[in-house]
Amino acid sequence: MPAVIQSRGLTKRFGSKVAVDDLDLDVHPGRVTGFLGPNGSGKSTTMRCLLQLDRADAGTATFNGLPFRSLASPLREVGALLDAGYVHPARTARDHLWGVAASNGIAKARVGEVLEMVGLGEVASHRVKGFSLGMRQRLGLAAVMLGDPHTLILDEPANGLDPEGIRWIREFLSYLARQGRTVFVSSHLLSEMALMADHLVVIGQGRLIEEGSVADFVGRYTKRWVRVRSPELVRLVQLARERGAEIVQMHPDAADLRGAEPALLGELAARNGIVLHELSPQSGSLEDAFLELTRSAQEYHATAPSEVPTSAGRPLPPPVPGGGAR
């Protein structure tokens, strides 16, 4: 299927700083496309350029081949949530949405529907200034759904949501994607992105770094190993090493081995009468892959805790595994 959201050579500068650098982007329908990048990598600026809120210095951005400003009824085609805080605090939730809906000729009745959809029906007549961040996120999502659009652009939609809310939005976006809609979502919550997105676009310093499925991405940028657990661990590890396996790490009752497939290790154990308590393939997380990929594209680097001097001039101690208050 052709890309619904497309950018070619998209470039945005703020003075001498290049926020988005010659970015080619293709976002396809029927799946959730995650948009990842370190802080300051240009994710939000890209989204604003797509929506022509920011004027791109070069390049094009289109939705189904048309610039955003050429869409006849934008809310019915593209729903955007850029920041949950973009709301007049003294307006009620209903009035906020009503004003937005009216701009595209959407009936007032739809406002009630979307408020119910996001779970804010009971507070529709409350002023937004009393809303939590999570409630404002839901209000922003309600605004996105006003026109029942085929394309959704969401910047950090899970920000401020409680676990129930995060699960809800994950399922909600997956449901929308399964309906054939185009869902383009940025998030810093990599664990959530791993569960939510089908496809990833990763940028760093405004440039496209990587694009592909989540599985491919994790597979390409993280290490894989096999964890074995057995009462005869030492003998099993020795046999595995004789067949080319390497020890990644030894635990008290388990070992992480690289260079041997789980099937081979299973057959080896069976042939030698070794009881296995665990035989599981392991790989790094999306977070590991992301950090590996964007290491050179990080604009801001924090100092490791052990290097941070305290007021007494001594560095902070490294965290104690499993350690709590002492």
Binding site: L53, P74, D83, R91, A102
Partner: protein, 247 residues
Amino acid sequence: MINAIRSEWIKLRTARSNIVLMCVAIGAPLLVSTLTSLFNDFQFDDGLDTFGATVLGPCYICVFLAGVIGVLGIGQEYRHNTIRVTFAAEPRRSRVLTAKVIVTTAFGAGIALVTQTLCYIEASIILRARDVHIGITDPGENLAGFVGQVVLSGLFTLLGFGICAAMRQPAGAIPLLLLWPLIGEGIIGGVFPKIGKWLPFRNGLRLPITGDVGDETLARVGAGLYFGAFVVLVVAAGWLLVERRDA
């Protein structure tokens, strides 16, 4: 375009600050007019000053409050960043700006029209009981002042809108809008008396004034057109900046 106007009207009337300003703009002149009608001794020669004291004078505040409404018409959008929501829903910015101009200007002028009408009705009732004459067309200049104040309120609304569109800061636009005509032009006119006649606000504020103002400003129609042209320039500058800048 109708949708954009409807949207702006909803935004305007659902913001509490606009409603408060409207209530003050109507209530304060009505109170002053009532007290004046009840207690002034009206030792004037004709109906010109009676009308000025009970209708045009008390409603002068509407002009400045209408200007503040114009500022808030776009300023609140920038203050709360809702301008991004607005332009994401209707990316054709000129359409949004046109709708804002129509709605806020009509609202600002409408407040002056309603307030002056209420003040005139209230003053007529009270003054009739006191056997004091007042007439909106007697003399004819009263009507010119009445219409002039409505036009001036509309122009001030538009000016507030234009200033804030350029500045994007209501906190800066409101003092500029209120202090410049009252203080800034007063100083310039005092230091350079020869150019006083050409100061835009001085000409604009001439619109509701009845009676002779000498050669301090242009004649009423000329003064209105001159101030109107100034307002159009400011709005055009603000408009251009909104179109060109990042939202």
